[in-house]
Subunit: 411 residues, 2 copies
């Protein structure tokens, strides 16, 4: 597997565009991704009981459609808690996009257009603006790097940078590509789903295999990040596979399945980590790895509890080696472990320092700990016994800036 | 039931003292509560897997002892994650207190002394300081208002005010008192237990009845508050009943049980609300009431999810009527409800405003909403259907000050 330059258009046959249609002031707010050929597809969605209208639309398509051709995404308005009007508006977006694409030599039906929205909750979409935007965005669909970047910009809300990734690898004698883009950066505590994340590939994969693999991958990627503990109403991951690499069909018994799986998980994990790195107000990227747990699920629960703790996050903001808060967060994670077996250390580019051994505090050099924790990327390693379960979670610190972003205006 | 002036010494036969022994700089840090007569007692403790040494000590006493006589509490050091030394130190505290009390005409055994600690995690107790403190604190035990206040001051950590409450009511022809004190104010997300909270009463109640009632009461009081989502390693509620009112024995079948239960719950709820009112960095007190839910547990889960959401808390900090975040937090609470039935309104001294009806957003006057939300005490009312379940939770806003307190130094 090679990491390559690119994003949502890295795979053969995918076109994109991103424009400013007027939902946000001055910034890009509408993105469209289109495949030249029908795509098998898979989706993973928020478990929040309050689901935005586009989430319900996409879930219905995943159930009823064998293939799709496009994803239309707007930022600046989540179309969540918007009642029946919200559902009508989502369907209208799909319908308008299908009509407009068909006119531009991309024959598409309403049920072949997935729709995603992100932004403020509870405000009806200004459909006259969206309608003009859809007419405009279909005019200039392109392959290549620039189109991917424009689309990645258009899906952002409080994000401070775009999140893209692309890889290639061989299936038989064909180069296969997987590319993706995602957005964060608040209301991030995905649960069996994630933020908005879009992946395209020119691999040939059945809908069933794709959906099964996506289900597996979100557990180790998006579900292992947290910015603020809030599971959004709009979390969505969509994967489109158009087969245009000409590669043989890949499924769970193919010799190439493992390469595909590795590349697939790498792409999702890269985007998940980028979301946390750009968490609202985040100044630090924190990676917590738990080993020695009873099983993988326990290790993951312990790691995620640590990155989700406000007190741990505030301690990292202050670069304070306050390991008691880490142990405390592990203690209420719901996962079983023996506190008397825990070994804990911090690590960064400045070195590593152990603070706990077999549950007993170690004397340590506070100044050295501080210098390690002052780095922008810090690792926490917790060994909780002799089990084989391990897991890693990613989070960020809790800063004044997080409070400012979320207290100062409606986002 | 009358609310009266007083705290931990309001009930007949309880003495207290609070002193500065040197665990904290200049501030009071050691409290002692003693009953002239043996007390039946009850305890409720943190469900965190990582339990501080004094929690383990008190849990063992609840199991093995029929009565106790005293509670010794230190602040400035949680004696948590301190290994075997921590357990030895807790036992030494009980033993030293028992010896010293016995010398002062309060015959007490080691197993009659409950111990609590609160403060920084992972630092061994400086026992030479604690030992001198215990010798000193037993010298000046008093009944009355001043002694209660000194004890309430000595159990504080980042608290900005003391938390005390007292009530009286009649059982037969005897006046019975319940008084209490508590401390907050960070690492507050109690789960089947709470922060440090101490209740004394001169009622005559069996250990079994007291424990059963406490179990019931924490569900509606401490378990319904949240400051930061972190369930502490030291959460403890202790109740002591010495029977010195001379009232007849009260139990679940007594005619006076309901009065006792009402007063008991009032005292716990008052202290729980005081903890949240003084939450770290809190500028606003938020009461969320959910009605119309399937059952009480669902209503409580919905209400608590709202007060625990960082995004909701940050919106309150900004006095922003961002009701979408409230609905979102209800959606991931785990409790079932139909989003299309929700009615939502905000209320404060400035009036009330409805923002959602049958799941549909209502147009509302943003300036009026702002003026309502700018108040220091704000209520949220959410009706989620026609069920009979209702529940109330209490929380606070998320402020710059919370981040400063928890990022700037080890607390």
């Amino acid at each position: 597997m090679n990491i390559i330059e690119g994003g949502i258009t890295a795979a053969t046959g995918f076109l994109a565009n991103g424009i400013a249609c007027g939902l946000k002031k001055r910034k890009k707010d509408l993105a469209l991704v289109v495949s030249e050929q029908p795509c098998t597809f898979a989706g993973s969605f928020t478990t929040n009981l309050v689901k935005a209208a586009p989430v319900l639309w996409d879930q219905a398509l995943v159930k009823s459609q064998e293939t799709v051709k496009a994803i239309l995404i707007n930022s600046g308005n989540a179309n969540a808690c918007t009642g029946e009007q919200g559902s009508k508006d989502t369907k209208a977006m799909a319908s308008l996009a299908a009509q407009s694409l068909t006119k531009k030599q991309h024959p598409t039906t309403t049920n072949e257009v997935l729709v995603c929205s992100t932004g403020v909750i509870g405000v009806p979409l200004p459909m006259e603006i969206v309608e003009k935007g859809i007419a405009l965005i279909t005019k200039n669909l392109k392959t290549g790097r620039e189109a991917a970047l424009e689309a990645a910009q258009a899906i952002c809300t409080t994000d401070t940078f775009t999140k893209e990734v692309a890889v290639d690898f061989m299936v038989g004698n064909k180069a296969v590509h997987i590319g993706g883009m995602a957005k964060g950066s608040g209301m991030i505590h995905p649960n069996m789903a994630t933020m908005l994340s879009f992946i395209t590939t020119d691999a040939t994969v059945s809908k069933q295999s794709l959906q099964a693999l996506l289900g597996e991958s979100v557990v180790d990627s998006y579900n292992m990040i947290s910015v603020d503990g809030d599971t959004s109403t709009n979390d969505t991951v969509l994967v489109l596979a158009n087969g245009m690499s000409g590669s043989p069909m890949i499924d769970e018994v193919s010799p190439d399945w493992d390469s595909f799986k590795e590349a697939f998980l790498f792409v999702h994990t890269s985007l998940a980590k980028a979301i946390v790195r750009d968490g609202e107000g985040a100044g630090k990227f924190i990676e917590v790895t738990v080993t020695g747990a009873m099983d993988k699920a326990s290790a993951q629960a312990l790691a995620r509890s640590v990155v989700s703790s406000n007190l741990v996050k505030a301690a990292f903001f202050g670069s304070d080696a306050n390991w008691g808060r880490i142990l405390c967060a592990m203690g209420y994670s719901g996962a079983a472990f023996d506190p008397d077996t825990v070994a804990l250390s911090f690590k960064s580019e400045k070195g590593s320092i152990q603070v706990l051994s077999a549950g007993q505090p170690l004397a340590f050099d506070e100044r050295r700990a501080k210098s390690i924790l002052l780095e922008r990327e810090v690792e926490v390693h917790a060994k909780v016994g002799d089990g084989l379960g391990s897991g890693t979670a990613w989070g960020c610190d809790l800063s004044y800036e997080y409070v400012r972003i979320n207290g100062d205006y409606r986002s």
